[in-house]
Each structure stands twice: as C-alpha cells, then as structure tokens.
C-alpha cells in the first residue's frame, strides 16, 4: 500500500475556492428554485463551472483546453458539489470525460472543455456492478453510417447535453443531441437537483466511437470512474448533513437547553461521524486507485459504493429527523439532500449490487 489517501495542498486550495464559489452561486434557496423550475439544471452555475473556471474539464489535458488534472481533483470538486446538492450535470460530464480520454477522442474532449455537455446515455443504475445495459439496435443508413433504434430510461445529466454517448450492439456511438429521431423526455424525478430523462431513438444518426474490446474497456473504465466519483459526492453530501445538523442542534433550544446537549442525539451523531471518517478513507482510496490505474480500482469502486451510498442516505435521514418538523418542510434544504442521497444510492449500481460484485472480487462465493 503506497497510495496516498490524504488530500494534497493543491486539492485543499481547490476545495476552498469551489466551496466559496458555491456559497455565492449555489445557496440552497437557489437550488430549491432550480429544482422547482422546469429547467433541468442551473445553466448559470454550469457556465461558471465550465466556461468560466474550467472546473468541468479538470481531467481533460491542457492541449485540449482542459486543466490537465486528474480524477483525484475532480473528486474534490464533487465533494463540494455534493455539499451543495448543486444542480449541474457535472458527474455525467466527468464520467464522459473519462470515457473519451480512454478512447483519445480529442474533438469531443475539446467540446467538453469548451463548456459542452457530453452525457453517457446510461440508465442511472447501471454501473460496474448493477443492472445490464438496455438493448439499442444498430442499423445502417444508405450511406453506410450507423443509425440507432431503442430506448434508454432514467438517464441523468442528459437533458441539456449537446452530445450523448450511447452504448449499442456492443459498441459505443456519439449521437448529436439535436439529431433527428432522438427524443428526450424529462422524468418527474425523486431528485430534482439531478433529474432523469428517457431517451428514445428512431433511426437516430450516430458516429461510431469504438467497438469490441476497446468499447468494452472504455465503458468499464467510465463506469468505475462513475462509481468512484459518486462516492466522493456522497461523502460531501453526508458531511453537509452532519455539519448542518450539528449547527442546528447547537442553536435550537428545547426544555431550556440546546437540543444538541441531549445525549441520545449526541451519540447518534458521534456514530455518524465514525462512519464519515471511514467514508472519506474509502472514497480517497477509490480515487487514488482509479487515478493511478491500480489493479485494485474495481474492488475499490465497489467498496466505496457499498459503503458510501447507504451512508449518505443515513446521514440525510438523520438530518431530517434531528431537525424535527422543520426538516420535513419544503422550505428547509434537508429534503433536497435526502432525495439526492437516495437517488445517488441507486446510481452506478446499488450497494447490494456492489456487495455482490465484491463477492467475486474478494473471492467470497455465494452459498
């Protein structure tokens, strides 16, 4: 074990600046307004994160317009986006970037670095462990170019995407979001800070990106990256829930004393903190493995999801409960985190799927 699980000084600086920016531009009242609106995300915030600061293309090489950083820095940004429950298509774009990097797709990486949104066209619960890909059929147009037919339900971060990356027939295709025959239908989603949509394709023209092993390996690495990055977002979300609950309990009085002085609540929060300490360690290990191409990356990704998915839900649930009635109202941010945590716990494979994957990876065969 030589992987460093700490944050670098640069990463801490990155965190500080992202947190300050989100405090100014993604306060929860604004997040709630975006969630209530028919808009799928916060276009202004996305512009800030992509065009203006380049944070959306951290891992894209500098010569393609990116920042030349790694997954490890991307994960730090996601911790902060989780803290803010920020309504931006950052995760999907980061996963797309991993896939495109794997394929060396310079043009799309350049588009992404320029503020374009490239979205993996995957049901949100498909991950390195989890459900199978939907069947999308590939046919051929008169000019020999590929056409796609099929539906993909429950896709995240795709409603404002400019390009979709569609797995079909064992290969990977790029589909222009404005392509004829492609329809996106917004889904009323549990988590309106990251709403899902359904994709339908009728002879949608597509461009082949990769086929065979090359496609499989690119998709695998993207799915692992998704599980890994999401674990950092979940950690950040859970940390917000703990911090916010602690703050509330320090200042809320009942029975003539701060509610946070009641021992039963203190012990539950202490236990939650114990879990959070571990959530950070597994998230950092997963990031370190994925960023360095360590052979343990796949196991680390499933470990991180098996641990952090349920933890984030539990943190959000405790946050609601310990706020009492106020935490159950629409006008308090807790429900935004609750919904996002639950939605994220399904994303890139549920904890149950990841434990099943670990059974194989850690040689613990079923009964």
């Amino acid at each position: 074990m030589t992987l460093d699980l700490r944050y670098t000084e640069e990463q801490e600086q990155l965190r500080d600046s992202v947190r300050a920016m989100l405090a100014d531009h993604a306060g929860w009242a604004r997040v709630l307004r975006v969630a209530e609106s028919p808009e799928p995300d916060d276009a202004d915030l996305w512009r800030l994160l992509s065009v203006e600061t380049g944070l959306a293309a951290l891992a894209v090489p500098e010569h393609l317009g990116g920042a030349g950083a790694t997954l490890a820095e991307t994960a730090v940004v996601l911790e902060e986006l989780g803290r803010a429950a920020a309504p931006v298509p950052y995760l999907g774009t980061a996963v797309a970037a991993q896939l495109l990097l794997h394929l060396g797709e310079s043009d799309l990486l350049r588009e992404l670095a320029g503020g374009g949104i490239v979205a993996p066209a995957l049901p949100f619960d498909v991950g390195p462990a989890g459900r199978r890909l939907p069947d999308v059929e590939v046919s051929t147009a008169g000019d020999g170019s590929p056409l796609l037919n099929g539906t993909i339900s429950g896709v995240a971060d795709a409603l404002r995407a400019t390009v979709l990356i569609v797995p079909a027939g064992g290969a990977l295709f790029a589909v222009d979001a404005e392509a004829p025959g492609l329809r996106r239908t917004a889904v009323v989603s549990l988590d309106e800070t990251r709403p899902l949509c359904d994709l339908a394709m009728w002879n949608a023209p597509a461009r082949l990106l990769a086929a065979g092993d090359r496609a499989t390996s690119a998709l695998d690495s993207a799915l692992v990256a998704g599980a890994v990055l999401l674990a950092s977002e979940q950690f950040g979300l859970a940390q917000w829930c703990l911090d916010t609950t602690v703050e509330h309990l320090r200042t809320r009085y009942q029975f003539g004393r701060p509610v946070g002085s009641f021992q039963a609540l203190k012990h539950r929060l202490a236990d939650l903190w114990v879990e959070l300490v571990q959530a950070r360690a597994v998230a950092r290990y997963a990031v370190a493995c994925a960023a360095s191409g360590d052979p343990d990356a796949r196991l680390a990704a499933s470990l991180a999801q098996a641990h952090n998915g349920p933890l984030a839900v539990r943190a959000a649930e405790e946050c609601v409960q310990m706020h009492g009635g106020i935490g159950f109202t629409w006008e308090h941010p807790a429900h935004l985190y609750l919904k996002r945590a639950k939605s994220a716990s399904v994303a890139y494979g549920t904890a149950a799927h990841h434990r099943a994957a670990l059974a194989a990876l850690a040689d613990l065969a079923p009964a």
């Binding site: 949100f124 549990l190 899902l196 029975f255 629409w330 609750l338 549920t350 149950a352």
Partner: protein
Amino acid sequence: MAEPVTAESLRERVDGFLAGHDPAGERLEFLRARFDAGLAWVHYPVGLGGLGAPRVLQPVVDQRFAAAGAPDNSPRRIGIGLGMAAPTILRHGTAEQRERFLRPLWTAEEVWCQLFSEPGAGSDLAGVATRAVRDGGGWLIDGQKVWTSMAHQARWGILLARTDPAVGKHAGLTYFLCDMHAPGVEVRPLRQATGEAEFNEVFLSGVRLGDELRLGAVGEGWAVARTTLMNERVAIGGAALPREGGMIGVLARTWRQRPELRSPALHDEVLRLWVRAEALRLTGVRLRQQLAAGEPGPEGSAMKLAFAALTQQISGVEVELLGAEGLRHDHWRADRPEELDLIGRGPTYRWLRAKGNSIEGGTSEVLRNIVAERVLGLPAEPRSDTGVAWKDLPR
C-alpha cells in the same frame, strides 16, 4: 338506566332505532338522531351521545349500524375532534361547553383542529409562546402555530396559550377553544418534503375569544393538554390488518411480480422486513385483544415507534429494489390530502412520507423518553427548565 348495558341490549336498541329512522334518509338528520339516542359513543354520558356503557361495547353498535347501511360520521376526517377535542371537553368542560360542542363534533358538522405545536415549541410543547392576555371579559390571542392538520377546514381549534410568562413554563398555560372563523385567524398551507401541504401554519393576530371558550381554569392548561395528549397516543394504532395488509404487502407483491428486479442481498432484506412487519402486526392483534378485554397496556407506544421505523425501511428497500425505475416520482403538486395514505401513491412518495411518521404525533425521540421513564421506570434527566420563569428560559 338502572339495568346494565350489554351487547345484547345494545343490539336491541340499535334495531329499535333503525326501525324508526331510515338509514337511507337524510344523513345529518340520521346522525343527530343517533347521537340523541345515546348510540353515538356509548361510553359517553347519557344526554351527550352515550349511555354510560363500557367502551369495549362500541364496536357492537358500529357494526350493527354499518350492517344496516347507515351513514357514518366520516370518522377519519374528524379524527382530531373525536380523538382529542371530545375527551378533553368531556373531562374538563363546563356543562354548557359539553352541550354546545360535542353534538356537532360527533356529527361532523364542525371539524376540529389542534393548535399546540409552534415553531419554537415542538418536542417541548409546554414551551409554547402564543400569548393570551385578558381583554375585558375575554382574551386576546397572539402567536403562531404550526403542523396544524385540517386547520383550513376546521370550525374550532383546541388551543394552548401562555397566560403568565413570569411563572414556570407548565404553570403559565391556559387551554382555549379557538373559533377558527374569528377575525385575526389566518391559515396558510405548510408544504412538506413530499410537495404536499397536509398541514398548515396558523397565525393568530389579535384574535378575541370570549371567556366561555376557556377550557379549564387559568393556569391549568398543561393538565388539560395532558388529557388531550394521552388520548392522542391511545388513538394512534390503526385498524387491524390482515397479513401483508400494510406497506410490506406492496413490497412483497413487487418482489413476487418482478423477478427480474431480485437480487440475493435484497432477498434477505425483504425477509427481515417481512418478519418485522408480521411481528408488529401480531403485536397489534395482541394489543387489541388486551384492550377489548379491558386490559390496556403501554404497547401502543411500542407500536408507534416500530411502525415509524418499519415504514421508513420498507419504502427505502422498495426504491432500492426498483433501481432507476424507483427514482421516478408521480408529481410534486402541492396537494392538500386529508388522510395519511402510505399506499395510494408510488414508492418515492411512500419513502418520503414515511419520514414524517417518526416526527408527527410526538417524535420518536420524545416517545423513547416517555417509554424509558413511564414504562421502564428509568430516572428522568436533570431538568434545566424547572423552577425558572418561562420568560427567563434560554430559547
């Protein structure tokens, strides 16, 4: 009335009543007549809708009326009136108050709501800040209440208000019957995490209430409120359900009908929840048998605690089982449902709404305190709020 009332004699009375009153006739007229015949709530006194009979005989009457196709008084809609206001008025009200309020309450002509909780007084109900100040012969009320279900439909509210901030928090309270149509009463819907607005905020600004609307003596509000709260806890418990009759049935059916969703890890999870749901159901069966035999126990508190935790977990597993499909919500409209229904809508609604089960009607934390002290006899925590004037308590 010298003869003791029995199940048999009650059945005869109902049959006699039905001979003279057409169940298919005018609803309100029928209900009023039933009340006047002492067949509303048989354990209430004669003249107030009852016969002074044992409470356990009520089902005999209800079943007889239901079998005859008689109209009911929409008991779920007037649950707060029946479950909380009525027993409190019966116990603490004057003859005039009982006379005035109980009949229209039972016939559902007048809906009631409960004006207890405040933004600053949730678990600590005795800490309410709503002021009631003497105003001529009556009272002037100012304050804000919250989590008031049915306030937008209610004619009357049971109100806990502070009449003396200079004494200890329990001592300075008085209980009122609040006219919800009085000037200065403003009801605003309170939207919750589900998007709905089951509840309301109620703003009371210079609301004038006559002294005849005071229930119990000045400064005795906490004692009166305890009657209300005791009855609230008894009321919770729900009806007897068959196996898989509750939320577990939804999960079990999805498991059976959607084999493609199953995974081994969730199988054991579903089974664990099934065991807990069935254990809780049997606990309810046993509790009802005890109540019917006139041996009430504290198990109702156990049921509320277990029910809240269980519904939260079952619905959470349902969403997980469905995967991305489980993340689809039906709508975020600010509906105003009048009854809690954890089954009617989809999995995400169930999961969100169930979060309220451990908060409403006494948080699970408050309930655990009560169980620990009143059932188990564990010592109270050192208090920080006794012997201190309410106005001097930190808030």
